[in-house]
Each structure stands twice: as C-alpha cells, then as structure tokens.
C-alpha cells in the first residue's frame, strides 16, 4: 500500500510514494536514485548503508520509510553541498582511508555522527563509535587516522 512520505533529504523537502514499511535504503536507492547509499548485508551488520537521521547515524537497511516522515535525512551528498569537501572527506583522501571505497560513504557519515557527539574523540572512542561499520580493505588503520585528522579541523560549533 503506497503512502506519501515527506521528509527532508540533504536539506530539501522531498515527497515519495512508497509503502510505509519499505526500507529507507530501498527508498533512497531505488526511488530517489541515490546510489551513494550502499547495501552491504541487508541485516544491519556492516554499516555500508549508514545515513544520518536528525544528525545521528542509522542503518538505512533497518529503518522503515515511514519513520523518516517529517524528519531530516542526510546522505554523503549532504556533507559537501557546493562540491567543497568536508574535513572528513578530505581526511579520508589524505590519509589513504579509501581503498575500494564501498564502505566509505557510510563510514564518513558514521564518523560525522561520532564527531557531532564527541568533537575530540580518543582512539578508543573512535573505535567504539565506528565498530559498527565494516571495512575489508584498509584494516581500519588509515580510517582512524583520517577521523583524527578531521577532528582537528572541524569547524568549531557555536
């Protein structure tokens, strides 16, 4: 049963016709056409589908589309509005945290959520905060360095 779901996607109001219980992942990939949101496992174990819901990292594969009604959803496109790289994106580039890059959008968004809560995380806090995002290429070594790099360069919040 298709319903109308209105929500804010990267700052813009969008309106989508879909069943309430369809996953946000399917909605974003197949209905909106945002292929930057990845499906890695479909069961909430790998974090490749991470998006921000009201700024907090969530697995889009586990979230029913109906739950985002009226709320703010951010994907990787929302971090670099005018093509200007976010410090996390820059950190991932410079620290070599990107190998195959499939986990990258989800990891950057998860790191964004982490830095929102804890702007200067310790190594342990980074590890705890990002342990829900799998990466099979990098061994996480350079991802941790990238998040540290970005944390030093995030714009100060008022």
């Amino acid at each position: 049963m298709a319903e109308t779901i209105d929500f804010f996607l990267n700052g813009e109001l969008v309106s989508v016709q879909c069943p309430e219980n369809e996953t946000l992942l399917y909605l974003l990939r197949e209905r909106v056409g945002l292929r930057s949101v990845k499906e890695g496992c479909g069961v909430g174990e790998c974090g490749a589908c991470t998006v921000l819901l009201e700024g907090r990292a969530v697995n889009a594969c586990l979230l029913a589309a109906g739950k985002v009604r009226g709320r703010r959803v951010t994907t990787i496109e929302g971090l670099s509005p005018k093509g200007r790289l976010h410090p996390l994106q820059e950190g991932f580039l410079l620290m070599g945290a990107v190998q195959c890059g499939f986990c990258t959008p989800g990891l950057i968004l998860a790191a964004h959520s982490l830095l929102e809560e804890n702007p200067h995380p310790s190594r342990e806090a980074i590890v705890q905060g990002l342990a829900g995002n799998l990466c099979r290429c990098t061994g996480y070594h350079d991802i941790i360095r990238a998040v540290k790099w970005a944390a030093k360069r995030m714009p100060e919040r008022e």
Binding site: E39, C41, C46, Q99, I126, A131, R136, T138
Partner: protein, 754 residues
Amino acid sequence: MIGTNPIKIGARERVLGLTRFGVDQGRPGDLYLLLLRAFTAPARIKRLESDAAGRLPGVVRIFTAADIPGINRIGIIPSTKDQPVLSDGLIRCRGEAVALVAAETQEAGMQALGAIELELEPLAGVFDPKRALEPDVPLVHEKGNLLFRQRVIRGHADEALARSPYRLRTVYSTAPVEHGPLEVEGGRADWEDGRISVTACTQNPHYDQSDLARLLGLPPELIRVRQSETGGGFGKKLDLSVQSYLALAAFHLKRPVRMVYSREESFLGTGKRHALLIDYESGMDAQGKLTAVKVDILGDSGAYASYGFAVCMRAAVHATGPYEVPHVLVDSRMAYTNNAWAGAMRGFGVPQMAFAHEGQMDGLADLIGLDPLELRLGNCLRNGSTTATGQILKDSVGIGDCLRRLGKIYRAWQPRVRSDERFRRGLGIGAMYYGIGNTGVSNPSSAQMEFSASGELIVYTGAAEIGQGSDTVLAQMAAHYFGMPLEQVRLVRGDTKRTTSAGASSASRQTYISGNAVLDAARDLERILKEGAAAMWECRLDEIEYKSTGMEGPRGESIPVTEIVARLARQGREVKGNGRFDPPVTVLDHQTGQGAPYASYAFAAQLASVEVDTVSGLVRVPRVAAAHDVGRAINRRAVRGQIAGGVVMGVGFATMEEFIPGKTDNFREYHMPTMADAPRITPLIIESHDPSGPYGAKGVGEPSLIPTAPAVANAASRALGVRMTHLPMSLERVMETLSQTRNSKPEIRNKSGF
C-alpha cells in the same frame, strides 16, 4: 613520482559518493534477474516445473540449463572447467543455481522463485576430503574425486629426517573462509545488434569475456565486458558470478537486465578459501639448521575445481616457507567433495601453508632451545639460495632484512609481555615468501600508451582495479617514465573492447607484471616519437633526447610531443606504444615439482602480540608490526594500506572466520574483524630492489595477509603454552584447549618475557 604518495585515483569520487559499483549499474526499466538455488546436496533433480511460475504477472521468462546455447561449464583453469552455470541435473553442493528468473520487478521475481516446483532426490555424498580419495565412495564428478596432485621432491627427505637429531611432526588444519568484500556481486547487461555488453564488478574482464563466449556459443568479439568500479575482491570476483546470468538473459531477451546477489547468495554462490589439512614433519641438526621437511597436504575443493589446481600447486611450492631446506618431499592433493566449493582467496593456499611452516619453526626453536627469531634468521633464504623447487634466487631476497627489522621491535616489546591470572599474553613471529604471478605458466600482461592531441598521456590497461590501487601505481609508472605530472595521465581500464588482456588482478601480479607491460609500452611509444623526430631532423635515434616538454635533436632542434604526434598522425602512423610482459618462468616437472615457477618473490615477516582471555577464550591481537620486502614501493601510502588491510584480514583468519554453509552466511553469524578487533599496526617497508621489476617493484597484495595468522597463532601458542594447530582459534577451541591443558604441564616453555 616513484616512491611518493599521490592521492589514489578515484578516491575523490569515492568520498563524494559518486562512484558507481557493479551493484549500482541497474537503471529504471531494466529487468531484474533472480536465481532459484537448491539447498539439498548432493541430489538429483527429479522434477523442475516452471510453467506456472513463468505465467505470473511481471515474470518475463524463466531459464534453465536447457536454455544455454553453448557449453554449460565454466572455470578459470582451462583443463578443469567443470562448473555448470545452471544445474545440469545434479546438485553437487548446497546453493547450486537451478533456474534463472527474469522479471519486471524484484517482487515479481521473488514470487516466481516461490512458484517454481523443484523436487530433489537426495544422493549419497562425500564431505570429508580424506574419505573422498578412498575407494568405493560416491563420485562428485565422473572423472573421480582427485582433482589434482603436485609433488615437490628435492634430495632425500626420508633419509635426512632419519639422520636428524631434532624432528618435529605436527598436523595443522584450517577452515573455509569467506572473502567478505563490502560489495556483493552485481552488474548489468545490454543487447544491441547481436552484441552483448556486460558491466559488472570483476577481477578479470578478459577471462569473463572468453568464458561467456563459450557459454553462449558466440565469438568473443560479440561480447564486451566492462569492469565496473569494484568494491573489493580478494579472489572472490575472479570466477564468473552474475556475469553468466546477465549475459544469458540479455542474449535471449535482447533487452537490458540487472542482477545483484544478496549477501547470503554471495556467501553461497562463490568459492571460499580452501580448507587444508597439513601433516608436516621437519628435521633439524644440532646447530639449528633445517635438514629436511616432509609435508603431506590435502585440500578440500568442494564440488567444483575453480582455482583448486593452482592452490594445490602453490601450496606445494611454498611448503618450506622462506627457508633453505636441502631435502624436501611434498605431496599435495586436492579433492572434490560435496562441500561448498572453494576458489581463489588472497594467497592461494600460502596463508594455510605459512601457518604450518611457521608453527614448525616455533616448535623447533623450543625443541632446540633457540630464540625463534634467531632460528629463522639462521635458516632464511638469501641471495644465491636454492628454493625447494631448485630455483636459484639471484637477488632481491629480503627476508633477512625483514626479520632483522622486526628484531628491534621484538626486543622492545618483549619486556612488556606479561601474563596474569586471567589474561595470558605472548609474542609470535610469522614469516613467508610468495611467488609473484601464476605458478609455472605463462601469464602475460599487455598495455598500450599514447598521447592525446592535448598532450595527455593515455594508458590502456586491462588490469582490474579492485581497491588495491593498480590504477594509481600504473599511472605513476607511466607519468614517471615521461616525466609528467600524474594529473596528465588518463587511464582506459578494464574494457574488453578498448583494452587488451592484463590477466587477473590476483597472485599479487599487477604491479610487477602489468607494471612491466606499461613500461614496455612507454619504451615503444618513446621509440615511435623518436623515429618521427629522427626522420624530421635527419639524425640517428640515439641523438634524440626526450624531455618532459618534447624531443630535442643533436643541433638544438626541439619539438613539443603534441606536435610530433600530430605530424606522425598526418603521415598515417599509429602513434601508440604497445607493451607486453610475460614473466620468464618454467613449467614445474610433474613428477618432481622442480623448476623456476616465478620470476620474482616477495618476502615478509610479522610480529604479533596476543592476549588470550582465559574466561571467554577470546584471542585479542593488540599489536602487529609488519615488515615487507616489496622490492620498491611505487606508492608508499598504498603499500602501507595493503599491509594494514592484509594484517586485519589475517587476524580474522586466525581468530574468528569460518564459513559453515547454512549457518554462517551473513555478517550476523560470520564475524569479520571490526575496528574493535583490529590491532595497532606498524607497517615497515623494506626495499630490496628487484632488477626484474618495474622500477624495482614486486608485489604486496597477498604477502600482507600471509604472515599474520602464523604470527598470531605462534603468539597464542606462547601465551597458552600449547601449540595451536587449527584455525580459526575460535572461543570454543581456545576454551577446549585451556580445559585440556589446565591439569597438564605446558608443552611450550615460556621463557622470561616471552
């Protein structure tokens, strides 16, 4: 340019979310493809009825083996193509594909899968590779259950063992492992004027093209395979997966189709790391020199061959590890069973063998009372050494340097390693050598290079970039050769229509083999440009100098590259350099396994610190130092990235990963290391400069993983005081070991701080 750290080509698009992988290829209007798989194995198909399912709304067609116009047998190794794309009537292992549904929507496709009537008659099977080779057992294939056998015989191992004052025999075993790239298999195919175009994630587009042509009974020219950006491979994307189904459906339906495996399907529908059973006996003299090894290897290929032949052979060749052993007797066999089929995975059997030979080295060190690092240093290969296959290694043997480099860290860490009531701690070393490229066979790469009208350097390569960084490394070599900035190099990559074969992105071979092919193309292009200039200035070729801005003649003449290119083009000459490289190797003697199977070898040694929780059985790996002789690091950042990634995959192999069909077929049950499981890693780059490599480079993709599990297992063995002989060292296995040893004296001495 060589040895620098340029940002990886394609990384910017990846952080922006712009990259389109295989799973992202589908477009609105494409048909969805889904597979019906069988879960009882072995079995015979008694009835397969799909007419009613085919009439459901939204279902376009259902294909079975009868719809395959060509040969329904695929496989990378020409002599062992044994795998049907759709079942030929038998289900040889769990998850075998039976029917292919093409539907307007995913939902309609799912409905059709549910409506197909499949009746199976269970058959007697064989699930133990040892049993599979006994007489009077069910045959997985008519030809028998022995897929391949490779011996390596040098000297007289039995006699040498009998004379050795120290002997150690241990049986090691490993479990099947899943590759777990974050991207599953996915792609799209289209049909136009009798030509089929497949775009999918893959590690070897040119192989894909040739087996798809066989499958469809078409000439290869009618099939174009383009490698989409690929979200990791590790060997999993070497065999055909979605490509076969995409091509088959596009062939019949003459319209675009898309297909993506579910994660569970990805576990079931691709080959795993081979489980090996290794019976290893070593001999040592009173001075601590290895005298002989006698090794019996039995591998489980599961129901299909895939890369089993290559794994069997490579395991045999690498059985001694990076040591001088005068007497060697290796018997390596690969058996078919009805288990999940095994294929290539990062290391082709060498990670399993390294677990065994390194366990032996530590065991021998204890027997003789020598430090494990010193024992290795005393036995390791050096320039001029002869390998188990009788190959003399002339140069670039960096294992000694790797071990010495680790030695400093080893001594620094030793005093910190102390066990307490609950946590047992230990350090362990793992060493390895690895032959770059395929074993004892021609495995060429080719490349082309030209300047565009605007002066960009265009490199054409068939080498699949799967995240490892071959695009960047090949572009760096081309840029370096012509003295240009990397930004002015453009790659045309992984497209059977526009590039020629580079062989597979496997066997750690692209930097070395395709790198050499790219340099060969560069030399050819330079020659063409110089010939043009020499004709114009009426001088000899050797009087012309190439400068990054253009060509300079003997009398001060100069001409920009773009102008000479335009001039030659006007004369009707093709201004494209052609390059090729095939590593000089010899075929192994089938009886004795003697020969020179590789033109270059990488070396590595790693040190792991391990902490075993005696309450939970959890093996944690807080730190790893990894020393790798890569010949020359073309891109240091990428080399360190490969090392860190390999180490963590090795930690998974050592401590947690085991594929059990029907039980661990998603990340919920199959655990791969998360950030919380990853050690702190110290990558150490050793550069021995291989004169046969491009700018001295060898390879690092697989070597990065190989020493980790041995180092972790040796450290855990130290910590527990008993030799760990099976991987993974899961919680259950560690608890079992603890309960068995609680009341007995430890086998392994725990010297102070170690």
